[in-house]
Symmetry: C2
Subunit: 109 residues, 2 copies
DNA sequence: TTAATTAATCGTAATATTGCAATTAAACGA
DNA sequence: TCGTTTAATTGCAATATTACGATTAATTAA
């Protein structure tokens, strides 16, 4: 079907999955790393930095924005992007909690 | 195209993306949480536990197995699954390193 | 106003993902 | 052996994702 049956899972499970999903493409990972590395807003040069067409980058930026991980502000003819630290932190905590699960004992395998 | 241009990204970026991708579906999140909760191998009852068809569960298990996050051992007519702790830990560290990026200063936004 | 620049959006093609019914394969018990 | 049980695989349909050319919208500079 191509459509996940979100209604049979918990809110938490759907949240974790959608957070992970937005990180599930190397272009978006690359964009995020670049924004962190620059440590400031990035106006324009994302298309040059990553080797994808302008329309494709714009689409990935839209997904990152819709998950709240980045924010963009219009600056003249260009748009400046940067990490949304509050939401990034929220995501980090949610995913870390999931990843930090541990088995106290591993009785069989 | 539907096909990610993996060749233009770094090995690390592709690794992070593929790890995140496998966590990007609530059914797989649910399976992993169940395996952690039970704290032991699970033989069979995954289909009852999660409300998806047997073929669908089997497919998700296959993806988790191919990423090395779980391992299954044949136990008579059924198959027992459990978390692969070494690989889980590896993934946790890789993703944590990515998520722990921080901005020392946020000069513009 | 007009041209130039930049990024979003639209439209489209190719591929991937999700889900399930049906079938197959493997192992056990009678 | 034969039926039963369990899970993998196959085949298919529906939807999602990725990518990009072309267009549009918005802003600036001349």
């Amino acid at each position: 079907m191509g459509l996940a049956k979100t209604e049979i899972f918990t809110e938490e499970q759907n949240t974790i999955a959608s957070m992970a999903k937005v990180l599930g493409h190397p272009a978006r990972v690359s964009i995020l790393e670049y924004l962190f590395k620059l440590n400031t807003c990035v106006c324009g040069d994302l298309v040059d930095e990553i080797g994808l067409a302008q329309a494709t980058i714009s689409q990935h930026l839209k997904e990152l924005k819709s998950m709240g991980l980045i924010k963009g502000s219009v600056e003249g003819t260009s748009v400046c992007y940067c990490i949304n630290l509050e939401n990034w932190s929220r995501m980090k905590n949610t995913l870390a909690e999931f990843l930090d699960q541990d088995l106290t004992s591993n009785t069989c395998c």
